[in-house]
């Protein structure tokens, strides 16, 4: 199987620091069952936001699921079959197995399709019927029309930064969603996030946030995106595990964002002057 699916179970609250009114908007969209589109660069907190919102929302509903959030990370070989389900060969017979999307539609989970434009075009057909008033999922292989559970919500994300024009979302798809834009947080907020997530002191977290800010000035040079908040947190994690800050930045930032030697050296130089 090539599909990349992970399930989220809502035990503890996922940390999320709101940057604007996105929490209120999402809540309102959920109560009206409006599908949501999250736009933003990689590692800026889109997935974490969905997890956080799922955690909040599912504490308030009666529908207590084991798996309230189904995340499908889309890639270019992901077909509609991977999401809906397929026939598997089991002993002497073929049996139908639901895909992650079908499961979410049936149980009423939130289904989060990460980097949707990466997936093949046939997946958009599924999205269309699920996101308008019909709220149904047609399964052509079994001839079934699955009506969505009342609690079901579709959330998709995409990254307008590096996806080529060819892979842009069609307006007919885009216009079915409430769109929330995400970006990397300001230096002060990002420092706070890093300090919390990695458990390091504010000073070094602040330095890491400044590194993030400066390295992002370099995007479009061999790496499509600047260094993400996620990478900065990784660096913080390594530091709190006792690794020397420069070495931590070397492995988590410098070598992670580009393969180009010149760019790597430049990023290493920036890291070098900002860290104490």
């Amino acid at each position: 199987m090539t599909q990349a699916v992970d399930f989220f179970t809502a035990d503890t609250e996922p940390y999320y620091l709101p940057l604007a009114d996105e929490v209120e908007i999402f809540r309102a969209a959920y109560s009206a069952r409006l599908p949501v589109l999250l736009k933003g660069p990689t590692g800026c907190g889109k997935t974490r936001f969905v997890e956080h919102m799922t955690w909040r929302l599912y504490r308030e509903t009666a529908n207590q699921l084991d798996v309230p959030l189904v995340t499908v990370s889309c890639h270019e070989d992901l077909t509609a079959t991977d999401m809906v389900g397929r026939y598997l060969l089991k002993g002497d017979e073929t049996v139908w197995a639901d895909g992650p999307l079908t499961r979410a539609v049936r149980t009423g989970a939130i289904c989060y399709l990460d980097e949707i434009v990466e997936a093949r075009k046939d997946t958009t057909v599924l999205i269309h019927s699920l996101t308008d008033h019909r709220r149904i999922l047609p399964i052509d292989k079994t001839g079934e029309l699955v009506a969505a559970h009342p609690e079901f919500l579709l959330v998709i994300s995409y990254n307008p930064g590096y996806q080529s024009v060819l892979k842009d979302l069609k307006p007919s798809t885009r216009q079915r969603f409430v769109s929330l834009e995400f970006d990397y947080p300001e230096v002060e907020l990002e420092a706070k996030i890093i300090a919390h997530e990695a458990g390091i002191d504010e000073d070094i977290a602040g330095r890491l946030a400044v590194i993030g800010e400066r390295v992002r000035n370099l995007k479009q040079h061999g790496f499509e995106e600047g260094v993400s908040t996620r990478l900065l947190i990784y660096t913080g994690d390594l530091i709190s595990a006792g690794i020397d800050p420069r070495r931590a930045a070397q492995v988590a930032i410098v070598t992670a964002i580009s393969d180009d030697r010149t760019v790597q050296q430049a990023v290493a130089d920036i890291v070098d002057v900002i860290l104490p």
Binding site: M1, S164, H221, A266, V267, V273
Partner: protein, 658 residues
């Protein structure tokens, strides 16, 4: 000794990251266009869009270049160039006491000029001020970029060891900043001032205050020789940078004035209407006078801004902040060696405006579409293909399943590959079209071709019989316009662009020109990763004849970009109208061998890197030099200019279709 050339690529990225905007990293020797400015070629400096660094420094390692870069960025971060004389006079009583408006000062006179004219020896005051600013900036850098500390220390220790020992206060000041503790007791006051300026909240005005306080004492230590006079501050770079920043402030003020004039106008109009009876004639007249004054003030300021902008540009050189620049080697065939980092290539986006005439280009696309597509169809991939017997897919492969069942029945373990899936067959081609934009492309095409497209090509005749085309050609009676080489180049480019877009290859369209080795220009009409859009058409329409044809660096730059694109197949097509030439392309201007040899070398380098090259020229005498420049069967001389789009497609199909 460390060399700038060895680390300038990294340094440019480092600078962009730290400063948040692109700055050209130039060697101080490239300060050629600013000859009228006083400049120390052994020191770092900056212009509006560039940092100047010595080509070579006597330093322990190349990290010292980063120290120099940060010092320059630090000057901006610390607001050195935002010094305003007005505020200085208001805040610093010592300055007000010694200042007199110099003769001939106008509102456009630079603030630094005004400041230093308050001292008996302006040049000494400048040096002292620079020393203070250096102290302030250095402390700021150590606070903001603590990691630079160790590199700075090592560099400073090196400077202390190697610098000649002078017994004058300025040298002592510098030595103190480098960490020398042995400052003679009589200059303790200077050291104290330097230490104080290293505090966190010090501004440029604190430096000026320190200058006023210590200048007389310092000046006593020097004997002034009129022969070794310092250059006039009118020629100093910081003064111009200061004036450049002042323009922004004036622009803001101009906006304010504009708003005020508008407000006053509105109020006045209301007054006239609503209170005609109540307001006295005199009040109305007063209001009119006010408005008149405001408008006068605004117009004066506007004129001043325009004048200042042009003088700043004249002094600091044309603004190239929108461009990026790279240096490339050049092959000198006379000495049979590379001149390292010889040419500077500026890469700039061509931004077409809405006014560009793109109708002609659209017509060209429509006209050539069928012909071109017929040729490209041969290399068109088949699209989606169903691949059977794979481990994972969207459908079960019936044949494979039957076999698997047979295997199971026969007691053997079956193959696991019983799915089938659709796969897209794609080409991985990146092409760059490099179009000559030299001045000669402005020449008309000879002999004049029939302007009517309908009888242009026999192959196209089929399409032309189409009633729709017939209507198109008969209705439009085009006036006879002289067509130029550049027109046909542009048409060929849009035709290629639309055709390649349909084919799905990535392709870039660059124009090149320039003047001299320090100013080769590459204009980007379309980058390979961009899609084809209205904007592409506008950018292509914006390709205009410029200056010379220095082909070597343009080819090297395109090759560099192709290598970065990471595609499997890389194609570079050069479209020119004559031999390579430039003002300093070779020892003699009339002799083109040097240019041809360098271009040949550049093409060979590209080939060695795995780039397929092809040169097309519309110069009928091109056979001679193209034979020298290009590998066999990798060039084409086009006899009839109008054939260009057609030929270009043929060549492209042949090159990439294999």
């Amino acid at each position: 000794m460390v060399n700038l050339a060895a680390c300038e690529d990294t340094l440019a990225l480092f600078t962009e990251g730290i400063a948040g905007r692109y700055l050209h990293i130039k060697a101080t020797a490239e300060f050629a266009n600013n000859r009228q400015l006083a400049y120390h070629s052994d020191r770092a400096g900056q212009g509006a869009d560039a940092l100047f660094l010595p080509e070579e420094i006597d330093a322990p390692d190349h990290h010292c270049y980063r120290v120099l870069v940060l010092e320059q960025i630090g000057l901006r971060e610390c607001g050195t160039f935002s010094f305003r004389m007005e505020r200085g006079l208001a805040e610093i009583s010592e300055l007000a006491a010694r200042y007199e408006v110099p003769k001939g000062a106008t509102p456009r006179t630079g603030d630094f000029f005004l400041l230093f004219s308050a001292f008996s020896q302006p040049s000494l005051a400048t040096d002292l001020f620079n020393l203070f600013e250096k102290a302030r900036v250095q402390a700021h850098l150590l606070r903001t970029y603590p990691g630079i500390n160790r590199h700075m220390q090592r560099y400073h220790e090196h400077l202390l060891e190697t610098a000649e020992l002078h017994y004058d206060p300025l040298s002592f000041g510098h030595r103190s900043l480098w960490g020398d503790n042995e400052i003679p007791p009589e200059w303790q006051s200077l050291e104290t001032a330097l230490l104080q300026l290293q505090g966190p909240d010090q501004t440029v005005y604190d430096s000026v205050r320190a200058l006023c306080q210590l200048y007389d004492q310092v000046a006593e230590a020097y004997v002034f020789d009129t022969l070794t006079a310092y250059p006039s501050p009118e020629e100093s770079v910081p003064d111009w940078l200061n004036r450049e920043q002042r323009i922004d402030e004036w622009d803001e003020k101009l906006e304010e004035l504009d708003d005020q004039v508008m407000m006053a106008d509105m109020i006045h109009a209301e007054d006239l209407e609503a209170e005609r009876g109540e307001t006295s004639e005199a009040a109305i007249r007063d209001a009119e006078v006010d408005i008149k004054m405001l408008m006068d003030e605004r117009d004066t300021l506007k004129r001043r801004i325009d004048m200042e902008k042009s003088s700043v540009q004249h002094a600091l050189g044309p603004d190239r902040s929108a461009a990026r620049s790279y240096r490339y080697d050049e092959w000198d065939y006379l000495q049979r060696r590379y001149l390292t980092h010889w040419c500077r290539v500026y890469e700039e986006s061509l931004l077409g405006t809405d006014e560009e005439d793109i109708d002609g280009l659209n017509n060209a696309i429509r006209h050539f579409q069928s012909i071109v597509q017929k040729q490209l169809e041969q290399i068109r991939p088949t699209g989606l293909q169903r691949i059977s017997r794979v481990q994972d897919g969207d459908e079960l492969d019936l044949n494979a399943i039957i076999e698997a069942r047979q295997d199971i029945r026969a007691g053997q373990s079956p193959s696991e590959r019983f799915y089938s899936r659709k796969e897209r067959m794609h080409r991985d081609v990146c092409a760059i079209f490099l179009v000559d934009l030299s001045a000669s492309t402005d020449d008309p095409v000879e002999p004049a071709e029939p302007k009517d497209w309908s009888d242009y090509d026999e192959d196209a005749a089929d399409n032309m019989r189409d009633p729709w085309y017939a209507a198109l050609t008969s209705d439009e009676e085009e006036p006879v316009v002289e067509r130029k080489i550049i027109d046909i180049q542009r048409e060929a480019m849009v035709v290629m662009a639309s055709a390649l877009d349909a084919l799905g290859d990535s392709y870039g369209i660059y124009g090149f020109s320039g003047y001299g080795k320090d100013c080769v220009e590459v204009f980007v009409a379309k980058e390979p990763q961009e899609g084809f859009s209205q904007r592409t058409l506008q950018s292509i329409a914006a390709m205009k004849p410029k200056r010379s044809t220095r082909m070597g660096p343009a080819i090297r730059h395109s090759t560099h970009k192709l290598m970065q694109s990471g595609h499997a197949m890389k194609v570079l097509m050069v479209i020119s109208d004559g031999f390579p030439q430039d003002s300093d392309y070779g020892p003699e201007r009339g002799n083109h061998t040097y240019g041809v040899e360098d271009t040949a070398k550049a093409i060979k380098e590209a080939q060695q890197k795995g780039v397929e090259t092809f040169c097309i020229t519309v110069d009928r005498s091109g056979q001679d030099y193209l034979k020298q420049m290009c590998p066999d069967s990798r060039y084409l001389v086009i006899e009839e200019m109008e054939d260009l789009p057609d030929q270009l497609t043929k060549v492209y199909a042949a090159l990439t279709g294999r």
